[in-house]
Amino acid sequence: MMQIKNLKSCQRMAGFFIKSTLLIGIVIGIILWGGFNWTLELTNTEQFCISCHEMEENVYQELQETVHWSNRTGVRATCPDCHVPKDWSHKIIRKIQASNEIFHKLMGTIDTPKKFEEHRLELALHEWKRMKDSNSRECRNCHQFKSMDLEKQDERSAKRHDPHVWEAMDGKTPSKTCIDCHKGIAHHLAKGWEEAAKKAGLQD
């Protein structure tokens, strides 16, 4: 009798243990998950990006000369708007890639303006490649081609924005994307950028 009783209580104990573990697990999970996403969000701000002087002294200063910093309508683009994907899976991949920046931070790869300038072309090429591969996904988070009024654009812009030439029309894959034509919109261009981009097949 005792044994059976014990067994029953044992089972009950085990059940309780499993349930509570699950519960605690879920709670911890939620906290961790939340914390994870919270840190993810925290590292997705301009303040975070420019907490490194490498980013603050060079590219951030240059951004301030451009239309993406100050314009007629007062809409601003921050670093993650252009550099970090919005959707979760792409974001995680980019974040993991970006942990490489911490290594180079420690190595001091670009810790002076001179060193930054020496590496700029290489970094820019990475960025152009990334944007080309994603069909300029980040630009399109804000600029919808279908919302552009070519009538209102400068003649020069409208001439080049003819979607028949390069957009994905009638199920065709697009031949061109924003970054093909819009390099150096946010930062200074490195010396010899055009030749390098053409060589890498990244320039229109």
């Binding site: 020069r156 001439k159 200074h188 261009l189 010396k191 010899g192 055009e194």
Partner: protein, 209 residues
């Protein structure tokens, strides 16, 4: 102790007063004007009695003349500064904002060999030691796909009249010669008439030889 200080301050105030209060104009005869002039020149050694009691209540006197043969000295003129006739402690008049003039067909040239004005925004363009973004569209290699006019042959000529196969260094800084235009009425009318000599051809002839 007090006296020399007063002298200095007084002298300064007196010397200043015609300018400091130059709000109203009074016309005086040339004779009076000359008298005033000699008075002014003798002011350097102004006595203490004169200086301690500067006549600030007097209307300030600016120059005057009624004679036609001395047109400049003596004419009472008021010249507006760049901020107009506004007092220094008041905000300047708001200026009317002007938009840049843009055109898809370019801007008409006024004479042969005029560097054409830029008919589009150049805010995004940077001309630095590292690069020149105008070339992104206007160079020989890119102009066709960018649907932009290519810069002409004259841009390849060095100052020694040598023709290079790339942009001549003296043409590197485009906005030395080419500038955007604002859509405004000119303050001063321009009666310039274009010449008809084809300087451009002459220049090219010289180079070819």
């Amino acid at each position: 102790m007090k006296k020399p200080l007063l002298t200095i301050v007084g002298t300064l105030m007196l010397l200043q007063s015609p300018f400091a209060m130059a709000e109203e104009t009074v016309t005086i005869s040339l004779k009076d004007f000359n008298a005033l002039k000699s008075l002014c020149s003798s002011l350097k050694g102004a006595t203490a009695t004169m200086a301690t009691a500067p006549t600030r209540t007097k209307k300030p006197v600016v120059v005057a003349s009624s004679k036609a043969d001395t047109p400049d000295i003596g004419k009472a003129v008021k010249i507006a500064s760049l901020r107009g006739f506004h007092a220094l402690d008041k905000e300047a008049k708001e200026i009317e904002k002007k938009k840049q003039f843009k055109s898809g067909d370019g801007i008409k040239r006024n004479w042969e060999l005029q560097p054409p004005s830029i008919p589009h925004s150049i805010e995004k363009d940077r001309i630095t030691l590292k690069g020149n973004t105008c070339l992104k569209c206007h160079s020989k290699a890119n102009h066709e796909k960018e649907k932009a006019p290519v810069f002409s042959k004259s841009h390849y000529i060095t100052r020694n009249m040598k023709v290079l196969d790339k942009l001549s260094p003296r043409r590197y800084f485009c906005n030395q010669c080419h500038t955007p235009q604002a859509d405004v009425d000119p303050l001063v009318k321009n009666s310039f008439k274009s010449n008809t000599i084809k300087l451009d051809n002459r220049l090219m002839d010289k180079v070819e030889k």
